[in-house]
C-alpha cells in the first residue's frame, strides 16, 4: 500500500534518476543454507545444502556434499536421503501427503539442524485471471490467481511467477486474514520496477498451500522487497523453520500450476 502511494507520486510528479553505486559491504558470515521441499506430487523430493557467499562474489555457491540428511513424518516413516553430489540429496521412499508433518534432520560439519513443516490440505487452483489497468497511458496487467479459499481460517498461499519461462525473483504470499472463505480477487503484488508485463507474455503461476512458518518467511521477504522511504521494512534474515542458525527453508506444501497468455 505504501509502495503504491509513493510509487504513483514519484512516477507522476518527478523525473527520478537511477545510478549504480559501488558500496562497501560489511563482512559476511558464510552460513549453511538448507533447502528442502516435500510436495503432494510423487517423489523423489530433494534437499539441497549450500553455503552463502559475500554479496560481491560472482562465482558459484559452495556446496555441502557429505551431510547426513534424514526426513521422517508423523505417520512413522523415516527416510535417509541419498547423496547425489553437488549439494543435492534425494529421498528414497517417503511420500508427501496432505495434513502430514515432516521433520528434516541434517547433520553436517559436526552440527545438527532440524526443521519441521506441515503440508496443508490442497486448495484447488482454478485459473489465472488477467486484469488490465491504464495508468498514465501505459497498460498494466494485474495477475489474479483464482481459487476458493475454504471456510476454515488460517490458510496461507505462496505463488511463484514465471514469465516466458523465466522465474521472477519476487515473493508473493496471500492469506485469509482479511477475507475468508471466498473466491480470491486479490492480485499478486508484482513490483513493476523490475518486471513489465506486455501483450503476448506467457504467464505460468505455481500455487503452493503452505504452513504458517513458510508463509511468514516469504512474507518477510516480500515486505523487504519494497525499498526506500516510500515503504519496505528494515531488512533482516527472515525467521525460518530451521534450528541452529541455518539459512534457508524446509517446506512441505501442495503444488499446482496454471498458465495464461496475456492477450489484450
Amino acid at each position: 500500500m505504501k509502495n503504491i502511494i509513493s510509487g504513483i507520486l514519484i512516477t507522476v510528479l518527478f523525473a527520478s534518476c537511477e545510478k549504480v553505486l559501488d558500496l562497501k559491504y560489511k563482512d559476511n558470515k558464510s552460513s549453511i543454507v538448507i533447502e528442502g521441499n516435500i510436495t503432494n506430487e510423487a517423489g523423489p523430493y530433494f534437499v539441497k545444502i549450500t553455503r552463502s557467499v559475500k554479496l560481491k562474489e560472482t562465482g558459484s555457491y559452495p556446496t555441502v556434499d557429505s551431510a547426513m540428511v534424514i526426513i521422517n513424518d508423523d505417520a512413522g516413516n523415516i527416510d535417509t536421503l541419498a547423496i547425489m553430489g553437488n549439494g543435492l540429496y534425494q529421498t528414497k521412499r517417503i511420500t508427501g501427503v496432505e495434513g502430514r508433518s515432516y521433520t528434516l534432520t541434517v547433520q553436517a560439519d559436526n552440527e545438527v539442524y532440524i526443521a519441521k513443516s506441515t503440508m496443508p490440505a490442497l486448495v484447488p487452483f482454478d485459473s489465472v485471471k488477467v486484469e488490465t489497468v491504464k495508468i498514465v497511458g501505459d497498460t498494466e496487467y494485474n495477475l489474479i490467481p483464482v481459487y476458493t479459499d475454504p471456510l476454515v481460517a488460517g490458510n496461507k498461499y505462496r505463488f511463484i511467477l514465471t514469465v516466458n519461462d523465466k522465474i521472477i525473483n519476487q515473493h508473493f504470499v496471500q492469506d485469509d486474514e482479511v477475507r475468508n472463505g471466498v473466491v480470491n480477487t486479490t492480485r499478486l503484488e508484482v513490483n513493476d520496477d523490475d518486471l513489465e508485463l506486455k501483450k503476448g507474455d506467457v504467464i505460468s503461476i505455481e500455487m503452493q498451500c503452505v504452513d504458517t512458518n513458510v508463509a511468514l518467511y516469504y512474507k518477510t521477504l516480500a515486505l523487504i522487497g519494497d525499498s526506500g522511504p516510500g515503504g519496505g521494512t528494515t531488512p533482516n534474515n527472515p525467521v525460518n523453520n530451521i534450528s541452529n542458525g541455518a539459512l534457508g527453508l524446509f517446506s512441505a506444501h501442495t503444488t499446482e500450476h496454471k498458465g495464461v497468455v496475456i492477450a489484450l
Binding site: 559491504y25 559476511n28 533447502e35 522465474i167 486474514e177 525499498s227
Partner: protein, 739 residues
Amino acid sequence: MHKRTVAISLLFLFSTTLLLAQSKFTVSGTVKQKSSGETLIGVNVVIAEKPSVGVTTNEYGFYSISLPKGHYTFRFSYVGYKQELVPVDLVADVKVNINMADESKLQEIVVKARKENDNLTSATMGTEVLNMKDAAKLPVVFGEKDLVKTIQLLPGVKSNGEGSNGFSVRGGATDQNLILLDEAPVYNASHLLGIFSTFNSDAIKDATIIKGNSPAQFGGRLSSVLDVKMKEGNNKEYHMSGGIGLISSRLTVEGPIQKDKSSFIISGRRTYADLFAKISPDFKDIQLYFYDLNAKANLAINDKNKLFFSGYFGKDVLGVSKTFGSKWGNSTGTLRWNSVLSGKLFSNTSFIYSNYDFNVSFKSDNSETNFNSHIRDLNLKQDFTLYASAKNTIRFGFNVIHHTITPTTAGGTNIIRTRRSQKGLENALYVGNAFKASESINVDYGLRFSFYNIRDGKTYANWEPRLSVNYRVSNTASIKMGYARNTQNLHLMSNSTGGSPTDQWIGNSDTIRPELADQVSLGFSKNLYNNAYELSTEVYYKTMQHQIDYKDGVDLNTVTNIESVLLFGKGRAYGVEVLLKKKKGLLTGWIGYTLSKTERKIQGINNNEWYNAKQDRTHDLSIVGIYTLSPRWTLSGAFIYTTGNAVTFPTGKYVLNNMVIYQYGSRNADRMPATHRLDLSLTYQKRNHSWSFGLYNVYGRKNPYSITFKENKNNPQQIDAVQTSLFQWIPSVTYNFNF
C-alpha cells in the same frame, strides 16, 4: 493521591500570591502591531529605572507587572519594532495598551530571538522561534515557503529526507513531535509525502520549536513541541494577499470585524499539478492534489474578554483511474476564550477538536478493498497565568483530551474482519514558575502530572518534572542547564523505512505502556560584536523507555492483532549542537552543526544488542545566508550536508528454490551516501508585490532517495546496488501580492 498533591501545590501557589499581592499595584495590558492590530508575542517589557525587572508578553500579547507605588518608565522593545517608552505614575492598578510600529528598514534574520539578547537572559533551553515573514526569503523546493522546512535547517532538527514524512528532533522518532496549530494537535503535518508541510505560510504568524525541554504546560510527546500560531487578521483594514507559483496558488483575505477590536482571516491553498497533467491524455485518469483552508476570527466581548476561533482543514488526494484511490488529511478547530480575571491573573480556556484520517481503496473488476483509519480528539484546556510578582510568573492549569482511535480497518467486498476503535482519556495537571532568582539567575521550574485512562481499562500515571536554569556569567555570556521528563501515550505504527500517510496511531493498552524520555542538557551562549553575532551550543543526553518496534514479516494494516506483533525496548540519544547566527548587516544568516548519535535496544531485534536508529546521522550541517543586494533585491542561499541515514545493506547472498536471497548482518550498521545540496533564491520586492526565483539543488547532486539491490541484467551473478534520486535542479518562480 496524586490529585490531592497537585491540589495542595496549587493552593500553595495561590496563597503565596495573596501574600505577595499586598501593597503593590499592577500594570497590565496588551501589545499590538500598529499597522495590523496583530498582537505581539514575546515583547520585552522592562522598567527603565530597574532594568532587572521585566516580563514578556504571552501568546495573546498580554503582560502584567506588579510594583510598589512610584513613578516608572516602561520600555517596550521587540526586534524589528520601534522601541516605546511609556511613563507611568503608579498609584493604582493601571492598564497600558501599546501599539508598536514596524521598523521595516531593519534587516531581520529569519530565526530570531524576540529581543536582542534574549538568548542570554531567558531560561528556556533548546528553543527557537521562527518568524514567517522572514522565512519567506529562504529558498525552498517548488518555491513554496514552508516553516517546517526552515525549522529543519536548525541544529537538532533533522529532515527524514527528500520524499518522506516528518522530521526527527534529537534522535527521536517522527511521531515524537507534538505539532500544534493554535493549540490543536496536527497528527500528520505533511502533504504529498513530505514535500510540503500542512502549514500555509500566509496564514501563519510564527512558530516555536522546543527540543525536549518544554515548560510544564506542554506534554504528550517525547522529543519536541512545534507550536504554530495562526495570524489573527488585520483589525484596521481589509487586505488581500496571495501568491501564484508553478505548483500551487494561495489566497488570503483578512480584515476587521469590529474596527480596532476584532478581525478575521481566511486563507486557502491548492496545488494544481493535476490540472496541468489533465491536458495530456495520458494523465487524464490521475488525481493528485492537496488543499488547505485556514480560517480564524476573534471577537472582543469587552475589555477583559476575548474569543478566538481558528480552524484548519486540509486534504491530500491521490488516485489512478478507478483502480486506486487514496485520501488523507487533518481537520482542527479551536475555540478560545481569553479572560483577564484581574490585572495579575490571565486565563485562557480552549475547546479543541482535531481529526486525522486516511482512506485507501483498491478496485478491480468485481471486488473492492479499502482501508480506513482515524484519530479524533475532543480536548479541553484551561490555562492560568499568574503574574505573582516582578520575580515570579506562575502558569498552571489542566488538559483533558478524549481520543477516539480507529486503527486501520479493512472494508469492501467480502471483508470479514473489522477492528474496534479504542477510546482513551489523556489528562494532565501542571504548574510551572518562571522565577527571576537574581539579576543573573533565571529559573523555570514546573511539574506536570499526566495520566492516561484507557476506557474500561488501565490507567497509567506519570510525574513529569521540568527544570531549566540560566546563569548569566557576564554581559555577553550565559550558561544554561536543564532537565525534563516527557511521556507519550499515543504511538504511530510504522514499520517502513520511511513514513507514510497510511501509518496508523494507536493509544496505550494493556501491553503498550506510555513512552518515557528523560533529557538533560547543558548550554552556553555568547554574544559577540555588540549582539551582531550570537553563538550558542548545547549538549544533551536523552534516554527513552518503552520504545516500540515490530516483528518481521508483518503488514501492520492487515494483521489481526497489532499488539501481538510489537516489540519493546529502550533508546538513548546524545549530541552537541552549535548555532552561530549573524544578526546584523547586509548579510545575515546562520551556521548550524549537530554531532549526534541515537540508538535503540529492543527485545527481539539485533540479538538484543544496541543498534542505530534509522534517523541516526553523525553529522548535520546547514549554512543559511540572506544577502540584501539593494532595498528591492535579496539573494539567499542554503547549503546542507548530512550523513546518510542508518540502513541495513545485505552482506551476503544465497540461492533458495532458484531465487537469489540476500543475507543480512547487524541492523542499521550501514549508511546511505551523504546528502548535500545548495539551494538559491532571489527575491524582488516592490511595495505590495514580490517575485521570487528559486533553484533547488543548484549543482544537481544526485542525493539518495532509496537504494535497491538487483541482479545485473546481463550478468545475474552480479548484484548491483541501484540508487534512486529525486530532485535535481528544480527551478521555481512565485509571484506574491498584497493589497
